[in-house]
């Protein structure tokens, strides 16, 4: 019998699945993504259809999470809103991550003035809290969910650029990259084929860590009126509507609020778990 070979990925997975909490968080997120994808089929009502006979109604068998001021079904709005909130979270982090990976590899690989310029830019961007940077970008581009995506991408970028620059510096010195270089592999191929794959594990872990933050920031911007505009069922925007009915219709806060909290918490727990599993791998 041959002994089983332990690949780095297998090792990583083995360590990750031992922790129950991050695994549970992953399952919660999978269910949420699935619900958002299947929204047209599983949402019990049209999220935009008003029902003026059932305004601000509390939870009932018909409307599990109650209705809002227009009589719209809140559960359906939360399910449809997942499409907005989750995709804003993912798209903005992927955009920022992509830009950060490109800048990070280039600055780590070439060094010199390009490196200095990129790192100074990152220093400046990181010196400001994300939400302020996002508000500044929205101030320039105007309110709206698309601009929120760009805004979040801008403040996610430096995190990835620094991370990838660091691993590029390390990978540049590895034997296989040196070997590839010595047989005359072009610089672009070196970066793309030999260095990029090595940086990806860390990037993936940080994506999962950042998506929660991004959803939170997007929801905050929508809450203060700079993000998703009505009638979009974005979760932060739903809470912004709920603010006017405090004490009159509490369910307007409980359900969207619990959804945001659960989502962000799940991303943070999952990200922590992934990072711990990866860190151990780096240490050994």
């Amino acid at each position: 019998m041959s002994t089983q070979v332990r690949t780095p990925l297998g090792e990583f997975w083995r360590r990750f699945k031992r922790k129950r909490l991050p695994l549970a968080a992953g399952v919660v997120l999978a269910v949420m993504v699935l619900a958002a994808l299947l929204a047209p089929w599983i949402a019990p009502f049209d999220p935009a259809a008003p029902d003026y006979d059932n305004v601000l109604a509390g939870p009932s068998w018909l409307h599990w999470a109650g209705t809002d001021v227009f009589g719209r079904d809140i559960l359906s709005r939360i399910i449809w809103g997942g499409r907005v909130s989750l995709s804003v979270g993912f798209i903005s982090v992927f955009l920022g991550g992509f830009a950060g990976v490109v800048l990070g590899i280039v600055s780590g690989f070439f060094g010199g003035w390009a490196d200095t310029a990129v790192m100074r830019l990152c220093d400046v961007l990181l010196a400001f809290p994300g939400i302020l940077l996002a508000i500044a970008v929205v101030a320039v581009l105007g309110p709206g969910i698309d601009n929120v995506i760009y805004a979040i991408a801008v403040f996610s970028m430096p995190v990835f650029a620094r991370l990838v620059r660091g691993s590029t510096l390390g990978l540049k010195q590895t034997v296989y990259v040196q070997a590839a270089r010595s047989i005359g592999v072009s610089r672009y191929k070196l970066m793309l084929v030999h260095i990029l794959p090595g940086t990806l594990p860390v990037v993936i872990v940080y994506i999962s860590l950042r998506v929660g933050t991004s959803i939170l920031t997007a929801a905050s911007l929508s809450f203060i009126g700079l993000g998703a505009q009505p009638p979009s069922p974005e979760w932060g925007a739903m809470l912004s509507d709920a603010r006017s009915y405090l004490g009159v219709a509490d369910h307007l806060i409980w359900f969207p609020g619990a959804t945001i909290l659960l989502t962000v918490l799940a991303f943070n727990v999952l990200g922590d778990g992934l990072r711990d599993a990866l860190d151990q791998k780096l240490r050994t």
Partner: protein, 306 residues
């Protein structure tokens, strides 16, 4: 130390210049006449013409920028296109409420974060540690606006103990500063814990224990003192982030501060106020970062000499 301070002060200048170029540029990057944008939608043609002269728009871009930078340095920030009041006085009125909000939030957040972090670190793996880490990650994951709404629901609507918003007495401070400080307390608790655990694994701590130093001295003198050095930086950075978080919290609690002013001016496209606020916030962050660096250098000579 003086040389270090001077070096850091000079280092902050290019960043401020970069920010001011961004702030200057963004009015020019927007489609439309910058003078019209700054003067506001209700300004008359004569007002716009006057604004054009005031902004020095007839000169080259470089001279326009120098003109803008000179005015900003003299504190001439123009007039709000919404209220027609000088921007400097608009901001001046709102400065103290925001400052007090962030300071009160910071005080309790640092106190709680330190206690939670140290207790977790010392009692690593025990129920106290688990509980405070669950609280911490929940605190990090709760958006400020959600926490604010929940607190209003509980303490204002149900119990009727505290006002739902506004500014004035100490009761007005309780909910907003608790809301604002929560995330910071949570981040600090996690940071202090991991810093403590890291230091507790150092050789000199083991040596101290081995040679029979009382456990209390090991915890307080050997471990805690060293573990808290990086906490200074983390705390300072969090202070900057509080100013950002204040924007959301001020909206929830109708707090008459800088954050609300910024949101209102973005919605209204009140460019003179937006420009001034971004400039002010940036300066504050740089200043805080600078103070943090100096404090850090004061406790850690290694940094100073690099």
């Amino acid at each position: 130390m003086l040389a270090f301070i001077i070096r850091r002060l000079i280092g902050a200048v290019p960043v401020l210049v970069a920010v001011s170029i961004f702030v200057f540029a963004f009015v020019h990057l927007l489609p439309g006449d910058p003078a019209r944008l700054v003067a506001g939608p209700e300004a008359s043609a004569a007002d716009v013409a006057a604004m054009r002269t005031e902004m020095g728009l007839d000169g080259s871009l470089v001279s326009q920028y120098l003109h803008y930078a000179g005015q900003t340095l003299r504190g001439e920030l123009g007039r709000s296109s919404k209220t027609r009041q000088p921007v400097a006085s608009e901001i001046g009125v709102r400065f103290m409420p925001t400052l007090w909000l962030t300071v009160t939030a910071m005080v309790w957040a640092v106190a709680l974060g330190l206690v939670m972090g140290v207790v977790s670190g010392v009692r690593r793996g025990q129920w106290v540690d688990r509980l405070s880490m669950v609280l911490a990650i929940s605190g990090i994951s709760t958006p400020g606006f959600l926490l604010g709404l929940l607190l209003i629901q509980m303490f204002s609507v149900w119990l009727g103990w505290l006002p739902t918003g506004g500014y004035g007495t100490w009761q007005h401070f309780v909910l907003p500063s608790f809301t604002l400080g929560t995330a910071v307390a949570a981040v600090l608790a996690r940071f202090v814990r991991s810093s403590y655990i890291e230091v507790a694994g150092e050789d000199y701590v083991r040596t101290a224990r081995a040679k029979g130093v009382p456990e209390q001295t090991v915890v307080w003198t050997h471990t805690l003192r060293n573990a808290l050095i990086p906490v200074i930086t983390a705390t300072g950075l969090q202070f900057g982030f509080l100013l950002g978080g204040a924007i959301v919290v001020e909206t929830v609690f109708a707090w008459p501060g800088l954050g609300r002013l910024l949101i209102d001016s973005v919605s209204y496209r009140d460019y003179p106020v937006i420009q001034a606020e971004i400039m002010l916030f940036s300066t504050e962050f740089l200043l805080i970062n600078l103070i943090v660096d100096l404090l850090y250098a004061a406790v850690n000579p290694e940094i100073r000499l690099k």
